[in-house]
């Protein structure tokens, strides 16, 4: 980076030049000093856990680290889908790399640069970075082992420093470190040479970083691909030895084909909107056909894979999806109504706001404890008394494992598992969630409504637009960024939810309320399977990422940023 700054300063007088450079350096150093404590904490407890969890998830790890077992934890959780996901990750890495490459080419064409020489230092630097990761992977277990070694010994500074020195000095660690530093230095040196003597462009730093990124993506993709490939080969070899049949490859192919068909259908449907009516109809028909074929392939294949995975985990994912789908629409709908009502010229606005916000700040354990009493399954429980007044039979509420649609349909009809809906116990948790977050959403909707200029409504009124038209054509589009933000927060919130679910879950509900986070907590805390629980957490992270990307995609098309 520092190399770049050199060129940008014109040099009228040497003393001025050094003065400004010194000031800049001083400011940068002060800034890093300011950032140091916060980044030390966030680095250790916020960023490092991502890599560390991935590392743990590749091991058998019960309280103390065990042996490396590759993707086995993932395969245990989601069966062969793990290979499919790994395969697609490789594809995504490569696609991203190609996109970055095309982007770099476009920039180069626009400015008539010739950046291709930057590939040389970039590939070396990327190699050095990969080496550095390898060094970390060697160092980590040695350092973790110190915790075991000092057990029972008197903990002195000298002992710790000696053990740290031993961990640091282990030959594999040292070699990996030296190699990575050497390659990194070589890469930076080459970059300096290219920058100083070979290409002269103000965009040199951009080319360098984007090429490094491209090579990292390619390298990461290749490493992951190689890992998956060897895993699959090993699985086949093992199956052959035991005389079993495996269908990993066929499953990878069929499931991928199913998803590709869905993607194509979406794409064709999408492109139809720019065509004349006749062609559009045909295209949409075609898209629908492709969609059905893709869905058919997936419906034929996925349940088999799912049933081979961890039943508990799949169930908790299903619970999470029910929970999210049951919560988000009600939560946003109710809070939007309340916000619009509150936004009018009414009395005691402040009072309503204060009261609605109350559940959000209440400690979740205490609030959930209240709900536990209200919605308890005793025939004497408050809610059962209430519905008793209306002439209904008492229900089990938080102790009820049956799906609500099944209960509505009555015991005469038996619905299949997925159609039975969320259990009544989960429905209570959904009610709790809506109760808690409506106030928060209302306050944010109110702020969003407040930022819509009032002149728009006046103008619409002069044009003769009624309340409904005003809502549809002014309020909704101008509120769409807020709606988008709240939807994203609500969806991610339900996928992360733990505290109140933990308080409200009851053994009698037979795990129908155990969301993904609860399942991970149980594997970790009760079963002490650190490695396996980590792989589940990584799968959850992947799901949250996918949801965010989908949400962004929808937002790009539907959200109106004034």
């Amino acid at each position: 980076m520092a190399i770049v700054h050199q060129r940008t300063t014109p040099t009228p007088r040497p003393s001025m030049f050094t003065g400004r450079r010194w000031r800049r350096l001083k400011e940068a150093l002060t800034a890093y000093f300011f950032l140091l404590p916060a980044f030390l904490i966030i680095g250790v407890f916020g960023l490092f856990p991502i890599g560390f969890a991935a590392y743990v998830s590749l091991h058998r790890w019960r309280i103390v680290p065990g042996r490396y077992r590759g993707l086995a934890n993932y395969v245990k959780a989601i069966d062969n889908l793990a290979y499919v996901v790994a395969f697609w990750l490789v594809v995504i890495f490569l696609v991203l790399a190609i996109r970055a490459l095309l982007q770099a080419r476009r920039t180069a064409r626009e400015h008539e640069d010739r950046p291709w020489l930057w590939m040389v230092p970039a590939v070396v630097t990327a190699g050095g970075l990969v080496q550095f990761v390898r060094f970390c992977v060697y160092l980590l277990p040695e350092v973790l082992d110190i915790g075991q070694k000092v057990k029972g010994l008197e903990r002195t500074r000298e002992l710790f420093l000696r053990l740290l020195g031993e961990a640091w000095g282990a030959p594999t660690v040292q070699w990996a470190l030296r190699l990575s530093l050497l390659i990194l230095a070589l890469g930076l040196g080459l970059a300096f040479v290219v920058h100083r003597f070979l290409t002269h462009s103000p965009r040199n730093a951009t080319y360098y970083t984007s090429f490094v990124l491209i090579f990292l993506l390619v390298g990461g993709g290749l490493i992951l691909g190689w890992l998956t490939w060897t895993e699959i080969q090993a699985a086949y070899a093992e199956a052959l030895a035991e005389g079993e049949q495996l269908e990993i490859w066929s499953q990878v192919v069929t499931i991928s084909a199913g998803f590709v068909l869905l993607l194509i259908a979406w794409w064709v449907w999408h492109s139809a909107s720019h065509r004349p009516t006749m062609a559009a109809t045909l295209l949409r028909l075609g898209a629908a056909a492709v969609l059905m074929v893709g869905a058919w392939v997936l419906i034929g294949e996925l349940p088999r894979v799912i049933s081979a995975g961890d039943e508990n985990w799949w169930k908790s994912l299903q619970v999470t999806v029910y929970y999210s789908a049951g919560t988000v629409p009600f939560q946003l709908g109710i809070s939007l109504i309340l916000a619009i009502l509150l936004f009018q010229n009414i009395r005691a606005k402040g009072f309503f706001r204060v009261v609605y916000f109350l559940p959000y700040i209440t400690p979740p354990v205490a609030a959930a404890a209240i709900f536990r009493v209200l919605f308890s399954g005793r025939p004497n429980a408050p809610i059962n008394n209430l519905i008793g007044l209306l002439g209904a039979e008492p229900l089990l509420w938080l102790d009820e494992p049956d799906g609500i649609f099944q209960m509505i349909a009555g015991s005469g009809v038996t619905l299949p598992g997925w159609a039975a809906g969320p259990s009544l116990a989960l429905a209570v948790i959904i009610i709790y969630n809506v109760w808690t977050y409506v106030g928060y959403d209302t306050v944010i909707f109110l702020a969003g409504l407040g930022s819509i200029p009032g002149e728009l409504y006046e103008a619409a009124q002069i044009d003769g637009a009624g309340g409904g038209a005003q809502f549809r054509h002014i309020t909704l589009p101008l509120l769409s960024p807020t709606i988008y933000f709240l939807t994203l927060m609500a969806v991610i919130g339900t996928f992360k939810a733990f505290n109140h679910v933990w308080v409200l879950r009851s053994g009698a509900a037979l795990g129908t309320t155990d969301t993904a986070s609860v399942a991970i907590f149980q594997e970790f805390f009760r079963n002490t399977r650190y490695g396996y629980a980590s792989s589940l957490a990584i799968v959850l992270l992947g799901l949250v990422l996918v949801l965010t990307v989908i949400n962004n995609r929808i937002a790009q098309e539907r959200v109106f940023y004034g």
Partner: protein, 294 residues
């Protein structure tokens, strides 16, 4: 849902001119219904907390004679005095750390130029997306390790409960947004007076940033007071257990003693409620601010 909203909307909008305000009445009815739904569980908690065991498990709505003893019993049974002190200490350390570390980092992002600024800021914000479940295991291993090698224990002690939360991305982000709005002329004139970044931050920026700092204190307080999963992981004795985890343990022990459960809940909720009513305006404004800018 949308048609529903627009119906009410239209009703209230068009009825302004008319004499009888059906829309207005309807508005108040809906809003008051909302108030009832929010408030009834709280009232139920208070009422139950004052009942006898028989009343609490029966059909009673109000206690015949308020049993104030329930609070004394819950307080003693659940070691709430210990949990209370623990939570106050943990909260104070966490919030104090946040105030120092987050202010420094936010100031650097808002007012200083340095290499890799955008990269670091993106890294910071990316931690917001991580599910807590992903952090439990690595952080648990980390704090056990730190406790083994360091001079003081981390698990079952204050460091594990406070240090990981002393810097939070959302607090840094909130403060940065505020600091970036401070007019640049202030910095220019401070520089002319010979003030560096440290003096400018201490003497100019902090005094006018009382509102966002207060928001951070409040959020930090709530976060520390309400935390459950992590305290459950790193405390297995009451010695350092903070209040939410303590209440959870008590709920499991108290079984069908609903009146005691509710008394414990009142004890847990009360400090937060007082804080909320005292700083109410700050609260909703802070929330709206995070929502709009986030």
């Amino acid at each position: 849902m949308a048609s529903n909203v627009s119906a009410t909307y239209r009703a209230t909008a068009s009825s302004k001119s008319r004499g009888i305000d059906i829309g207005r009445v309807l508005t108040y009815v809906i809003l008051l219904a909302g108030v009832v739904v929010v408030v009834v569980p709280f009232l139920w908690m208070v009422s139950t907390s004052l009942m006898t065991l028989g009343e609490a498990t029966g059909r009673a709505i109000l206690p015949r004679a308020p049993q104030w003893d329930n609070y004394v019993q819950a307080w003693e049974d659940a070691k709430f005095s210990e949990y209370f002190v623990n939570s106050v200490i943990v909260t104070a350390i966490t919030v104090g750390g946040q105030l120092v570390f987050c202010t420094l980092a936010a100031y650097a992002f808002a007012r200083m130029e340095f290499p890799a600024k955008n990269l670091l800021f993106t890294l910071l914000l990316s931690t917001l997306m991580l599910p807590d479940a992903l952090r439990w295991i690595p952080n648990f291993i980390t704090v056990t390790w730190l406790g083994r090698i360091g001079p003081i224990a981390w698990v079952n002690n204050w460091p594990a409960l406070t240090v990981p939360f002393m810097a939070s991305a959302i607090s840094i982000f909130l403060l940065r947004q505020f600091f970036a709005q401070i007019p640049h002329e202030l910095w220019d004139s401070a520089q002319i007076d010979g003030a560096g970044h440290v003096r400018y931050l201490l003497q100019v920026v902090l005094p006018i940033s009382r509102a966002p700092l207060m928001t951070i204190v409040i959020f930090g307080f709530i976060g520390a007071w309400n935390a459950l999963a992590w305290p459950m992981l790193v405390t297995n004795t009451p010695e350092w257990r903070p209040i939410s985890a303590g209440l959870m343990a008590f709920l499991d022990e108290a079984g069908a003693h609903f009146h005691l459960q509710m008394a414990g809940s009142v004890i847990t909720i009360l400090p937060i409620l007082i804080l909320y009513f005292v700083t109410q305006k700050q609260f909703t404004e802070g929330i709206a601010y995070t929502g709009l800018k986030g």
